[in-house]
Amino acid sequence: MLITLQQELNNLQQSGKEKEQRIESLYINLQEIYNLQSNLDKPAQTKNNMLHQVRPEVFHQIIQFLDLKSFFQFRLLSRRANDVIKLMIPQKISCIQKQMSEHQDELQLKIQLSQEEAKDENSQNMLQAAFDGLNQLQKAHINELKALARPTELIERIINLICLILDSKFKIQKDNWRECQKILSRQDFLQQIISLDINSINDKQLKQIEQVESISPEQAGAQSIVARSLLIFLKGVVNIRQTKLYIYQNQIKELKLKIKKEEQVIERLGKIMNK
């Protein structure tokens, strides 16, 4: 009797478990149906992606308007975009090669012009004369200048400009003689001027230094010999920067940089194409 009851109880438990499982699976199914229904009721949740609507030829046309950076970026958009980019690469390479050959022609011309200009030694001599003038300066002269408690306006202006070419962050303003004195006190002040790299002077600095064109060496010489030498040096720097030779050399540098960049881009494009 006890055994049969035990068996019945087991059977009931078993069927109870089965029913529980059935209810659970029904609940899951119901949940799925509910989700599908809610998707249909609120279609805003499933958005339409326009990327699939865009045809390759339209992609091609859009890409033509993009610069190189965006061109590379566009590749990552989708498989279709990548395929279009790959198809466009040969065209892009030939376009860059054409541009590069134009730059190379221009470079050759500039080299030729700069070589012709280099034969004219005037500009080199002018700077050399300015440096020679500076060589005559001694530390004692600078110390004398530094010791001035209240320099004249002209001297202050010249020294301000000298400080500016040594330090691009230096701000030219009235009553900043103390700042100038700090720079004048540098141990290697004269050496810094003599070893100055004229190319390192940026356009903003140069524009301010051009003020010296309105000051004559005689005017400066009447107030201080040191200021006169420094003024001649500044004039030399301005003259050199304005010479054709310097301009050509700068253009050559820029063109070489452009050609190098174009070569790198072609290499990168080639790599993408062969992937």
Binding site: T46, N48, N49, Q53, Q61, Q64, F65, L66, K69, L76
Partner: protein, 153 residues
């Protein structure tokens, strides 16, 4: 000439307006059925053609567009205003319609605007931008697919 849109709306267009449509301006047919273009899009395309009714030579847009330039710098004010008032989705459909009709200046304008919008953005941002605000239901998708098959036939 008459244009009939996908939703069976007829547009009557003067031959002068059609001058921009290079593919159909020299055809003899008087009715053109645009089975994949909705009336709303076709209306915009016609509006563009009417806008350029007296323009015999629309300048070409420079390729690639310089980074500092926006759409108002590269095209005329009326063109820039026209394109900036459109939704992205509309522009893509306009390109398809303009391709069919051969309105090259409208294709260029639309592509240039899209290029300006997507430049400087990473792929994820572009994907987000290209997501339509308009929801799509299964029925709609099926309808579009059916229409495409019909057009191909």
């Amino acid at each position: 000439m008459k244009f009939i849109s996908q939703d069976d709306i007829t547009f009557e267009i003067d031959n002068e307006v059609l001058r921009q449509c290079t593919k159909i301006c020299n055809t003899d047919s008087s009715i053109v059925k645009l089975t994949s273009t909705k009336s709303k899009i076709l209306q915009k395309v016609i509006q563009y053609c009417e806008m350029h009714l007296n323009d015999f030579d629309i300048p070409e847009i420079q390729k690639p567009i310089k980074y500092q330039h926006n759409i108002f710098d590269i095209v005329s004010f009326k063109d820039a205003q026209f394109i900036t008032n459109l939704e992205f989705e509309e522009i893509i459909q306009i390109i398809q319609a303009a391709k069919f009709l051969g309105i090259n200046t409208l294709i260029d304008l639309s592509c240039a605007y899209i290029a300006i919008k997507i430049r400087g953005k990473n792929s994820q941002q572009v994907k987000e931008m290209l997501k339509s605000n308009k929801p799509i239901t299964d029925e709609q998708e099926q309808m579009d697919r059916d229409m495409e098959i019909k057009v191909k036939k």
